[in-house]
């Protein structure tokens, strides 16, 4: 039962004058999580690069798990705070520590105690106190063993003027930069393995994201939407709030496929997905586009083809997986929980349209001068208006929203 949380923020020391902004953003995000998950009021205190949260009721495991997904946090330590008392002070601290690690009675673990104190009235040094803690833990719990270098358990004790904090658990945070501090993006989700992992990579780097899915109904069935919603809600837990845009794309693919050379179909699909994503970015003020591209994975991901796609975008396209091997992507997907969703089978319109010999080196003249025709231009411009929109809260709960209004 922990009524206190000590949270440290990652990479803050790198930030110089902007430290304040980053810290504030991280605190905002943490506060929203606590407000959503924690039933009681809480207070916070900033201790240099750490934040101490205190509440009258204990913080739950759900909160620890949610905080693990907050970008920019380095660690989360649930801890016990005890008031200092005259006379029996150290004895009291030792007893509380023994209570704190009472699980050692039944589980064997290596440990180390670290003590920090800023109270000169205690005559023992920090090292002497930690040695004494070690001694008492060892004699009380014979299953335990000391390991200074690589312990399984760190008993962290901080003796301050009026209080002592004791913590035996450090939960590793996501690290990186707080949410939205590095910009905003629209992430193109496909239902495959790559795009959710790409999204996660840049969540860590503080990019606030909206998700877009190009829905090729009636070439694909509705089942795929459940998959996309599940991916978006899984990723949504890394953000304070997210939106998912389901853009109808079946008609557009039909028009493109009919009017271009077969071997160019996939490339033109991509070009117009990027085009629509740019229009969505305009609409919601997003800075950049994120995709799950990895170089050489499929024919549209050759260096030349990626460059061509880049040229059709008015925004930077970020491709965090560009140098990832497939297995590395799958491993990360398993870690963040998207793999189990991505692996579910779904119809893929691209395979229906795809050519046996997709173009590797597009003819520049054909690519640049291809006439999309008025019907396609109209469809592209109205696609966003017809998008289904969902909002996702930080618990990963999905709500349907109204379509965009037409007054653009």
């Amino acid at each position: 039962m922990y009524n206190n949380l000590v949270i440290s923020v990652d990479e803050l020391w790198l930030k110089g004058r902007n430290q304040h902004l980053y810290l504030k953003t991280a605190i905002n995000h943490i506060n929203s999580i606590l407000k959503k998950y924690h039933p009681s009021k809480f207070t916070l205190k900033i201790l240099s690069q750490r934040i101490l949260y205190t509440s009258s009721t204990p913080f739950s495991e759900d909160i620890f798990q949610a905080l693990k997904k907050v970008p920019g946090l380095s660690s989360i330590s649930p801890c016990k705070i005890i008031q200092r008392s005259e006379g029996q002070d150290l004895e009291n601290i030792y007893n509380e520590i023994l209570k704190e690690v009472d699980f050692l009675q039944t589980t064997s673990k290596t440990f180390r105690a670290t003590v920090k104190k800023n109270d000169k009235s205690i005559l023992l040094t920090s090292t002497e106190i930690s040695r004494e803690i070690g001694h008492r833990v060892l004699t009380t719990y014979p299953l335990s063993k000391v390991d200074i270098k690589n312990p399984e358990l760190i008993i962290d004790v901080r003796i301050m003027d009026n209080v002592v904090s004791i913590s035996s658990r450090v939960i590793k945070g996501l690290g990186g930069l707080p949410w939205g501090t590095t910009g905003s993006a629209v992430t193109m989700l496909s239902g495959g393995f790559d795009s959710p992992v790409a999204s996660y990579m840049l969540m860590k780097r503080g990019i606030k994201q909206s998700f877009v899915f190009f829905y090729a109904y009636p070439f694909v069935g509705q089942e795929v939407l459940e998959k996309i919603k599940a991916l978006a809600t899984t990723l949504g837990k890394y953000q304070k709030q997210s939106h998912l845009y389901i853009v109808p794309f079946g008609n557009i693919q039909n028009l493109i496929a009919k009017n271009c050379k077969e071997e160019y179909r996939t490339m033109f699909f991509r070009r117009f997905m990027i085009e629509v994503t740019n229009l969505l970015c305009d609409r919601i003020n997003a800075d950049t586009i994120i995709t799950g591209d990895s170089v050489g994975q499929v024919s549209s991901q050759t260096v030349g083809n990626l460059f061509l796609i880049d040229k059709s975008s008015r925004r930077l396209i970020m491709r965090p997986l560009i140098a990832f091997n497939k297995q590395e992507v799958l491993d990360l997907g398993k870690k963040i929980g998207t793999y189990a969703i991505s692996i579910l089978p779904h119809d893929d319109a691209c395979s229906l349209f795809s050519s046996k010999n997709p173009i590797i080196k597009p003819n520049n003249e054909y690519w640049n001068n291809w006439e999309s025709g008025p019907e396609l231009i109209h469809e592209i411009n109205s696609a966003i208006n017809n998008a289904e929109i969902y909002s996702i809260n930080l618990k990963g709960e999905l709500y349907k929203k109204d379509h965009f209004s037409f007054d653009t």
């Binding site: 109904y217 009636p218 070439f219 039909n254 229906l352």
Partner: protein, 378 residues
């Protein structure tokens, strides 16, 4: 909206719906109660039971058990039969899963020998091959009168006679797609048959099992001794009567509908070939209520969704297995090459399907085909 998936489930006749509204409200008593309310409901149920036996041309001493679904009826026969190790059973993998799955299960449990009834490339049972399978070791033969996927209608009276000439096997017929649409005669050589209400304009949740007297089937459900001790459960009086009402209406339309649907199928075949020359109709001797075709190069689910946008509803495979992707064992058993398993479309009609609605379907199909034809040039 135009609906062409009646073989999966069809709409309620309005008269049946009216009856259900009233009956569910009024006839709430337990048909097994001794008071007058219950006794009256019981009497109605018994007279509907006699009615169903009559429609099957069965003897009034035979049994007709009300069940919850044709799946339950099929399971009751298969799981309730007294099989012994080494018994031989003949069945077809082209049949509905409510036959293939329980028989394959019980064969494993009891070490039975399963033999497959061969089907020729037109979807019909190869009678010469079939006769070779028959001997005194065959204890049960499972047949479908109309296959739900291909629509092929078998002459079950003839087949049952062949079986009984060479064996003492129990002959069970799944008559779900045939009942009240084509002649279902259970008077000779057939030991049990399943029919269901929701394929003929009645509600879901009620079905029937015909059982010849002196059968060897043990009940699945034990309890209060209803249905002559054969199926314990309070009888759903309203559903039973609604089932009978639907059956009466269906029989009254049967002759006209049969002729009209034959005409519809012939016209449809001719016009679909004109629209899409690559189309194939792999089956013959089919019930005019089902038309199955193969459209090479366009996945059937893509075609279905394009028609769905225009509010035309068709089926790609039988609804129970349509969540499967790729290889389809039912289609394989019907001799459809695996490359076409994703290209099979089933149209099915009811007794009210009009020529007008089929003309609209042709028009919609022509538009979709024109839209998607470019995909077939690959």
């Amino acid at each position: 909206m135009q609906y062409f998936d009646h073989a999966a489930s069809t709409c309620l006749y309005p008269e049946v719906l009216d009856f259900l509204r009233k009956s569910l409200n009024e006839d709430y008593a337990n048909p097994n109660s001794l008071h007058l309310l219950g006794a009256n409901l019981f009497k109605t149920i018994e007279s509907e039971r006699a009615y169903f036996l009559k429609t099957l041309n069965a003897n009034q001493n035979d049994l007709f058990i009300f069940t919850s679904s044709a799946t339950e009826s099929n399971n009751t026969v298969i799981r309730g039969f007294d099989f012994h190790e080494g018994d031989v059973i003949l069945y077809s993998k082209a049949d509905h899963a409510s036959i293939t799955v329980p028989i394959e299960n019980i064969a494993k449990e009891k070490n039975l020998i399963l033999k497959i009834i061969k089907i020729n490339k037109n979807g019909n049972i190869d009678l010469e091959e079939f006769e070779k399978l028959l001997d005194k070791n065959v204890k049960m033969v499972l047949l479908s009168q109309v296959n739900n996927q291909s629509g092929v209608a078998s002459d079950i009276s003839l087949i049952a006679k062949i079986i009984k000439d060479k064996s003492d096997a129990h002959v069970h017929v799944d008559a779900v797609q045939a009942y009240s649409k084509i002649n279902c005669d259970m008077s000779a050589n057939i030991d049990s048959a399943s029919i269901t209400s929701h394929k003929i304009g009645g509600p879901k949740g009620i079905a029937g099992l015909f059982l010849k007297k002196n059968h060897h089937i043990k009940p699945l459900l034990l309890g209060g001794g209803q249905e002559g001790g054969f199926r314990a459960s309070t009888q759903p009086h309203s559903l039973i009567v609604a089932f009978a009402k639907a059956s009466r209406i269906s029989f009254s339309k049967s002759n006209d509908a049969y002729r009209r649907n034959q005409e519809i199928v012939e016209n449809l075949k001719a016009s679909l070939i004109k629209i899409a020359p690559s189309i194939k109709f792999p089956f013959n001797n089919t019930s005019p209520y089902i038309l199955t075709f193969i459209l090479p190069a366009i996945p059937s689910d893509v075609l279905l969704r394009h028609l769905e946008v225009k509010e035309f509803y068709l089926s790609s495979t039988s609804a129970c297995s349509s969540k499967q992707k790729g290889f389809n064992p039912t289609l394989a058993a019907l001799n459809i090459p695996e490359v076409f398993h994703k290209n099979v479309v089933r149209l099915s009609f009811n007794q009210d399907t009009s020529i007008d609605s089929v003309n609209l379907l042709q028009k919609a199909f022509a538009e979709v085909w024109k839209d998607l034809e470019f995909l077939t040039t690959k």
